[in-house]
């Protein structure tokens, strides 16, 4: 990876340069994860309006449908189950996956990696 440079959009003069990996990492961090510029959400002054529909947890049919939409040859993170396994073994996996997925709602947790 070459030395990274940030240039002024008008004058094209170099305003920042990153030669070491640490500096490049900092520059990528600034580029990929921009500082929050949006105004904070306004505090609700009255209760939110009534819901449009009833929330339901994940069903087996939804998992089947999500698997049908998966790209089977997509690259996965090292050590993870490839999409192809879900596509070809869905009948075996879904009875086990369904209670785990539903537990993210009943226990109100989203498991960390």
């Amino acid at each position: 990876m070459p030395t990274l440079q940030v240039k002024d959009s008008i004058t094209k003069a170099v305003t920042q340069e990153a030669c070491t990996n640490e500096d490049k990492g900092d520059l990528f961090y600034q580029t990929f994860f921009p500082t929050h510029t949006a105004l904070p959400a306004p505090a609700p002054t009255k209760p939110y309006p009534t819901l449009l529909w009833e929330y339901e947890t994940v069903t087996d049919e939804q998992i089947h449908q999500a698997i049908r939409k998966m790209k089977p040859w997509k690259a996965m993170r090292f050590g993870m189950v490839p999409n192809l396994v879900f596509v070809h073994a869905q009948e075996l996996l879904i009875p086990h996956l369904s209670p785990i997925f539903q537990a993210t709602d009943t226990l109100k947790v989203y498991p960390s990696d």
């Binding site: 940030v6 990996n21 990929f32 921009p34 449908q65 999500a66 939409k69 996965m76 989203y110 960390s112």
Partner: protein
Amino acid sequence: MTKTLVLKKPGKADYTSPNAWRPIVLSNGYAQLLNGCKAEDLVLMCENTGILPPNHFGGRPGRATTDSIHLMVKTVKDAWRKGEVALLLCLDVKGAFLSTAVDVLKHEMCQHRVPEGHVEWLKRRLEGRQTMLVFDNYWSELFDIKDGLDQGDVQSLIAWIIYNLLIL
């Protein structure tokens, strides 16, 4: 915790610019499947209840880029037929997903009457994220992702549409 790989955007003239590189996070299959189920349900119910704007085409079932092109051509030709001048303004939102404010997204979801279950689930999913940047055999230190939606996540598209409902 995820690893964010930094890859070249193909066909760029100048790779000294950090914008010529893109962050890629490889998926966790289980999480991707669960997120896909939640996104599917949210999209379907948003379509059924009619809260999405009619002139938005991205990330919606039954709609494609070609539909938006047809609409644009029709609008231009309709204006010409009336002897009017058509003017087209194109805008590109920089880092759209990554710069999404999650607290504003939650507020917009509640304001548009999306069930609390979806709002709370998305909140749990987006909090406490950490990643490290990986390039040239270098691994950066782990850092917190304080805001934004995940690039390439199936749920980001519908979340982004809801986030922008007021301006679309």
